[in-house]
């Protein structure tokens, strides 16, 4: 299982989201999920099982497949809720 956080240049924001996803997964006790980050140009549908994108670039990432759109990328509660939902759907917890 692989999660990929994506932002415009793949440097700062997606990296922060990646670190936050890892923190949430740890809190949930989920193991075996690889989390990484990338820029919008490089990300392609086969790169991950689930993609995490901020709302403002969501339209640029529709082709990626299973996309989770984050309304507020610094809101840990929102991220926790959405990651938990994905983890439940994927039978990770």
């Amino acid at each position: 299982m692989k999660f990929l956080a994506v932002c415009g240049s793949g440097l700062g924001t997606s990296f922060m989201v990646e670190m936050n996803i890892k923190q949430v997964l740890e809190e949930l006790g989920v193991t075996g999920v690889e989390v990484s980050h990338s820029d919008l140009s490089s990300a392609s549908p086969g790169d991950a099982d689930v993609f995490f994108l901020a709302k403002d670039i969501a339209e640029g990432g529709e082709h990626l497949g299973e996309v989770v759109v984050l309304d507020n990328i610094i809101d840990m509660d929102e991220l926790k809720e959405k990651v938990t939902k994905v983890a439940e759907e994927k039978n990770l917890i």
């Binding site: 932002c7 415009g8 240049s9 793949g10 440097l11 700062g12 924001t13 990296f15 922060m16 670190m19 980050h37 820029d39 919008l40 140009s41 490089s42 901020a54 709302k55 403002d56 670039i57 339209e59 640029g60 309304d71 507020n72 990328i73 610094i74």
Partner: protein, 448 residues
Amino acid sequence: MNNVLATLIDILSQPAILVALIALIGLLAQRKNLSDTMKGTTKTFVGFLVIAAGAGILETSLVPFGDMFQEAFNVSGVVPNNEAIVALALNEYGSNTALIMFFGMIVNILIARFTRFKYIFLTGHHTLYMACMLAVIMAVAGFNTVPLIAAGSVALGIIMTLSPAILQPFMRKLTGNDNVALGHFSAVGYALSGLVGKAVKGKESTSTEKIDFPKGLGFLRDSTVSIALTMVVMYFVVALAAGPAFIEAELSDDTNYLVFSLIQAGNFAAGVFIILAGVRLVLAEIVPAFKGISTKLVPNAKPALDVPIVFTYAPNAVLIGFFSSFVGGLFSMIIMAVVGSTIILPGVVPHFFTGAAAGVFGNATGGVKGAVAGSFVNGIIISFLPVFLLPVLGDLGFANTTFSDADFGVGGIFFGTLANYAGPMAIVISLVVILVLMAIPFRSKKSA
């Protein structure tokens, strides 16, 4: 014995090895297991070499662009791009950059721990770029070896703290709380945009988010696309002005001048793409280590995060800000052409990111009018600052590219000018004075 010393110096003067060692220290400090430590150290090592490879490609594109611009207009043309200038600078200043980055982060943690400025600057690529610029400035100012690293690191730590700090009043207004700060080295432009917004705000200001605005420019956020498209436009304009005779005789080896320009424009985007991949590898271990260690040492730290965090607060202001800032860049370019100075070309990437954020802050204080006026001012600032930054960068001032965001300009010009007029000692004194001022436990009425 001398051989050992010489080998040691050889090792430490290879920036790729140096950053790998820094990553190794970070990984060991976090007590990572063997496989994670090996993986992280190797990736960092390779990442640095990837950046150098990208710099090579970028140079094949930038050099002919500079020649064509000179031929066509008789002045130098500069395309500001952080990744480009950093990659070129790392060839010569790599080791100093790596050390300044490492110790600068420690200074940032110390300032946050012991003064009222609780900001931890987590935008790693900007830390790297600023460390690189300071390595250049301090060398040009006349420092070397240990004093150079010391002055650069203290300056970096101070900038990492003050940049989010000056913007925090506007961040509080925007986000409605005081928990998060903005870590992006164009804060001077954003704060100014916020002030301009306040000044132009009429009796009733309408937020940008109340107007219906066309969507569909999201593809500009894809940096490869936006860089390639703008470079094609710039290359074509300059190629047409320079004329086929010059280009085909001097630069393109008889290839059609427009075909040559198209490929070189693509090469620029290709170079930046590779550099970004390298930067990502280099930072992959360093940023989480910095975050983890700072969280432990500074309990009530405010994380300063990358600029897109503010974009979601006002998506319309993002687009308005980009356009208005870009218009400010074009306006500045005309003035430069009239005055006859070096011409700073408006790059889409800096205007998109900094213009967008300036739009958001301008909107927060002054609605639509604030967004338009504030980001226009931002566009002018990020165009003119590089003009004055180039002379203090030594040989790198002639690279046809330079640092694009406002805080690089302000910081670089501040230290560079100090050194020019009063020597390196003035830099040391100014750093000490700033640190002492920051250490005073003064509280403003607003934040109390």
